[in-house]
Point group: C3
Chain length 516, copies 3
């Protein structure tokens, strides 16, 4: 038992150490801005069954933070092809539900199908079926191995999940719900897991997808918009419309009719056939020749795989994991927990019935984040509520607006407001390290997800019960601000809330005026 513990710990450490070891090729002097902006994505790629939108990673804000951001919309029954990145990634599920498959190198295929697939084959286009049924048929073990499918663990994802993926780890995702599956991702390419240069790079294992960080956004954007409309109309694989899409945005159009843009595509067909010990015909398909579906493809029928399909069980496991069992024994390299629902109100870390709630997922909550050196915060501010002014001690922060809007001000070391704007749904803005920020929700309230480039990010608030001013003696404040003792006490005591502050139209000076 003790041995097992040590072994598991060892495996756990491997991913911590091996995936978290160095940081390279960093950019310079990119934080000298006089002005920040809240931005919408400026590039998009239409796929057969979805849409990929990205923010220009060469924008000064993203260069300063060393990150890139991508929003991906997968239509029902759409499959995002297996790929990996040169950076760790945090994904927030904005809407919908789906499944996520992650292929850790060298880990066993723990999801095993013991059912007669020949039987299934006849009903290939049947809807997705929970394999609890499979479980009940475990006695049919006498089949040959070739008739079974085995694969690594598959994870169910849903709105409000934060998903953490290390650099270089291949994953795929599939929308098995009824509405679009929308995800917003932060790619931290200045992370030490990236030993290439300061460019986000996605490596596909299948298909012939476009580069989602391509700089040719200009005219393509408008076309993309139109295409999206078309795409939604032609949800079934309409050859004509897609041919058109395929031709428009393709970088290196000379290659058409040639190989695709995935990792198999660059290998010599014969050598690869020999390595895989398969026909060259299969290799041609691997290499994505003439595949114009782009990175999100329409599944024929519905995707069938082995899975204990039960959202309830998933949740239960999480509860237990959080209750003190995350001891390294259950979380090895191969079964490591990769996600956490950050939107569940019952997990809120800060809550005010008048003002809203805030939840944080960091390496204390989700241990893999210590290897990724990233964390996330989700918040809901009620109408006109204020998020206490604060600064990040040890992280840059990128905020994506999920719903509603807010007025945001960011202040630099010269006391200048370098961002003073209304931020709206679907926009992203940067709060650089050490800069002060204040946020006031609009009339419809404000919901956001923010990504921080530190797994144990710290903030210091400038108003409220835990504010920096309360840590400082009265006499220091009195002399610093040239105010009298009563004014100091107002400053220290008039707000008894912590992070989310209720809107109070009156600037009353008495603390009890706002106390619950």
């Amino acid at each position: 038992m003790a041995k097992l513990f040590v072994f598991s710990l060892c495996l756990l450490l491997i991913i911590n150490c091996s995936l978290g070891s160095r940081q390279q090729f960093q950019q310079q002097n990119e934080c000298q801005f006089n002005q920040l902006q809240s931005r919408e994505p400026d590039n998009q790629i239409q796929s057969e069954a979805g849409l990929t939108e990205s923010w220009n990673p060469n924008d000064q804000q993203f260069q300063c933070a060393g990150v890139a951001m991508v929003r991906r919309t997968i239509q029902p029954n759409g499959l995002h092809l297996p790929s990996f990145l040169n950076s760790p990634q945090l994904i927030y599920i904005v809407q919908g539900r789906g499944v996520l498959g992650v292929a850790f190198p060298g880990c066993p295929e723990t999801f095993e199908d013991s059912q007669d697939r020949q039987f299934q084959h006849q009903q290939q286009f049947q809807p997705f079926q929970p394999s609890r049924r499979h479980g009940g048929q475990g006695q049919q073990q006498q089949q040959s191995e070739e008739n079974q499918d085995r694969h690594q663990k598959v994870r169910h994802i849903r709105e409000g999940d934060i998903i953490a993926l290390p650099a270089g780890v291949a994953y795929w995702s599939y929308n098995n719900g009824n509405q679009d599956l929308v995800a917003i991702s932060l790619l931290d390419f200045s992370n030490e897991q990236n030993q290439l240069d300061q460019q986000p790079r996605r490596f596909y294992l299948a298909g012939n997808p476009q580069d989602e960080f391509s700089q040719q956004q200009g005219q393509r954007y408008q076309q993309g918009r139109q295409q999206q409309q078309q795409g939604r109309q032609q949800q079934q694989q309409g050859q004509g419309g897609q041919q058109e899409r395929g031709q428009q945005g393709r970088r290196g159009q000379q290659q058409q009719g040639g190989n695709g843009k995935n990792l198999f595509a660059g290998f010599d067909t014969q050598m690869l056939a020999q390595a895989l010990n398969v026909d060259e015909e299969i290799v041609n398909r691997l290499q994505g020749r003439n595949d114009d579906r782009n990175e999100i493809v329409q599944v024929q029928g519905q995707l069938d795989f082995v899975s204990p399909f039960s959202q309830g069980e998933q949740e239960g496991r999480r509860q237990m994991g959080g209750g003190g069992r995350a001891n390294g024994l259950e979380e090895t390299f191969c079964s490591m927990r990769l996600k956490e629902n950050i939107r569940d109100p019952s997990n809120a870390d800060f809550y005010s019935p008048q003002a809203g709630r805030v939840s944080v997922v960091n390496s204390g909550t989700l241990p893999i984040l210590s290897a990724l050196r990233l964390s996330a915060e989700h918040g809901v501010l009620y109408n006109n509520a204020i998020y206490s002014p604060y600064w990040n001690l040890n992280a840059n922060e990128l905020v994506y607006v999920i719903r509603g809007n807010a007025r945001v001000q960011v202040v630099n070391e010269n006391g200048d407001a370098i961002l003073d704007d209304q931020v709206n749904e679907g926009q992203v803005f940067l709060i650089p390290q050490n800069h002060a920020v204040i946020t006031q929700a609009g009339n419809q309230g404000f919901e956001y997800i923010s990504f921080r480039t530190n797994d144990l990010a710290l903030i210091n608030t400038m108003a409220g019960r835990t504010a920096v001013l309360r840590a400082i003696p009265e006499d220091v404040l009195r002399n610093a601000f040239q105010i009298d003792r009563q004014q100091v006490r107002d400053l220290k005591n008039n707000r008894q809330e912590t992070r989310v502050l209720s809107a109070s139209s009156s600037s009353s000076r008495r603390p009890w005026s706002i106390m619950a």
Copy 2:
């Protein structure tokens, strides 16, 4: 008990991990110098009650090491306004004594006043009073909470202290002594705690201070010198002279009459008033409008705050802490030890009655340094004593001359002396990693403080009992240097001291000539 231990350890780890996680935006090719120089500060800012001098951070030496240096002089009863940096900082107290307040985010206000402040108010301008008296009046607990002051721990600092501060943590300091409080600081902006670009940045929480790293030093320097003279004459708040100062060096003079240069200044006054739930009048003071006192202000009367004022107790605690009790139980995030007296002769790590002494403070001595990845060394060389030639294995080193002077030679990989100069009191010079250095004190001796960019910096000496030559077999040295066996033995054995070598005018070959 065990639980408490784990909890404390956890808190301790938080600051280690969260504040020590990444390193970004680093400069390039900046260590290609043919010549190093020992430098005095080339920029200065006069404040109401003190002087800030900085070395140009764009100087090639500082760029190579990725650091900046600042010397600050706080006059008696002067208060350095609360601020924080985008980098970790090591401060050495060159002269004087004072108090330091550090505001850790989310930590409780553990210094509580239970005395009737109304009573105190009448005698507001009484001299600083040790609150041991307060302690004796603890029975007066019946007062309302509004009449008490609470704040976070306040630390007493004195000549010879090394103080370690993480990036982003706000602090203030106050000179409660009778002479100027002088401090020299190293700011390590290439540290992974800084995720902004390679510029030192200071963020103030009060006042309207000038940028101490501004590049407009040229003509201002001379003016500053004159101002300093003026400043000393006008130690009491002379309106005229300060107005003049305020107008001269201010970057962005258009803003005069507008807001100050602190973090509150950039926020919308109304929104901030609402967040703090105070009058806009108070917010105006927070925003530093028309405050021309700069960053070190004169305290009206003397500063009064809760403190167990007893230098003796402080020392006692340190002794105990060093004696094996630094077990993580007493050192949580909030009560973490931030200072260590490096000048106390009784703490010397290397000592020769003939030559001098050397003390080191690293993460073994002061655990927070493991998060800051910095360490310090203090040394006193008697007249003409030699610091054994050595190289730093894993750190750059910046040396500040406290008293006296020395001849210093720094040698690069081509065998060229890139520094060969006399260094004098108040100057700073760089010893780059792996470069060899030899130092010989002048006739008045030599006292220095050196900062190294590694929390467990290692050096290898080239002379003395622990020298690299002693580690190598005779025959290797004989062939490497083409000398005979007796010469090798002289080389290995003629110096029995370790780091500080006594001056011996004769080059006697016999070891006993220098042995004690």
Copy 3:
């Protein structure tokens, strides 16, 4: 006992922490290549008793990975002068055997000679003698200390050893065998142990050596070739030929007749004589005046030093260390294990009787690598065998071809083969992080050593029993590649080997056709 353990652990941690703390001055945008190349060294320096060849560190491939590579040939009885680097280093012994001396700062001289050296002196030129004989004469302790030699541990090295050296640690090596000692080194100057800029720098402690990373390779290379021929003919110290060499390639020829290019050379002679307490005559030799032997010198007679000369014992120790005793108790800072034989077939990690074998040395095998953040892999592919296509998740990889040749293809994120070439003995090529690579041995087989810039580097194979495709459900692959179920099964199951795949000329589809 427990105390001893804690102390040793502490020492162990020191090297981990102190030598592994920061990373600085990194280059930018250097991984944007359309083409990689397999390269031979493009610079060489002829020494008295050997040859130093280096790859241009400014080549884009090396800049991308932030590394440099050097191959050094030491002739029998040649001594590579003591030196250290500004980066950690992994050395692979390609051929021959020798001894390695490493001088850790502050560590005791644990190899002690108790023999009468006067007696030895008479037979000074006797061949290298194992000092087991010395051990038998331990009773002669009555001699004066001056007649004994003491030094730090000396390590025996031989073909197939991987040697790990931290930045700044001085070492020397000596060929005590009968054939040339050939070593290939990786210098990771983008490692956090290097706080200087992005240039490899070697600092010598003796002699007057040329800069092995000098950029003046052009015409010197051909001259070097000729010189090598000459050098081999003039193995005994031929004054004429060496004078010529000394004059040709010397950077800064003005210095000739002046000091050498070692660290002692730049110091003032008198000051250094005083520090060492020796004659200036000795100092002149230390400073390498008029030494034209370059960095590898011919030993007069044979090198004599204290050593328990027994390859067998060394091996035995290793076996025990690997068997569970690496507990920090035996491996302190001073006695840390620095090498591991990676070529020993009995240590292979992957083996196929038909295809070849692969061994890995990482921080699990050799703990010091966790401080260096490097690892190595050695492989032997039989003729026409294939190394499974794969990508590195978290490391760049540099491969040196030891013997034979292979066809190699490296594919980038656009599906383009940026390397598609035959690689030959003595060449180096880069496999950038996340890029896919396939290797097929030529008719004579293929032996290589590869260095990875991560101490726990992970790869994901694209063919074989542990391939990424086996981790993914059938239906996902079927839709991703647009193939039928039987083709998916062929893809997943037709190769049952893992990393090294046997050559199979037929592209048979049945798994049993290749199973053993």
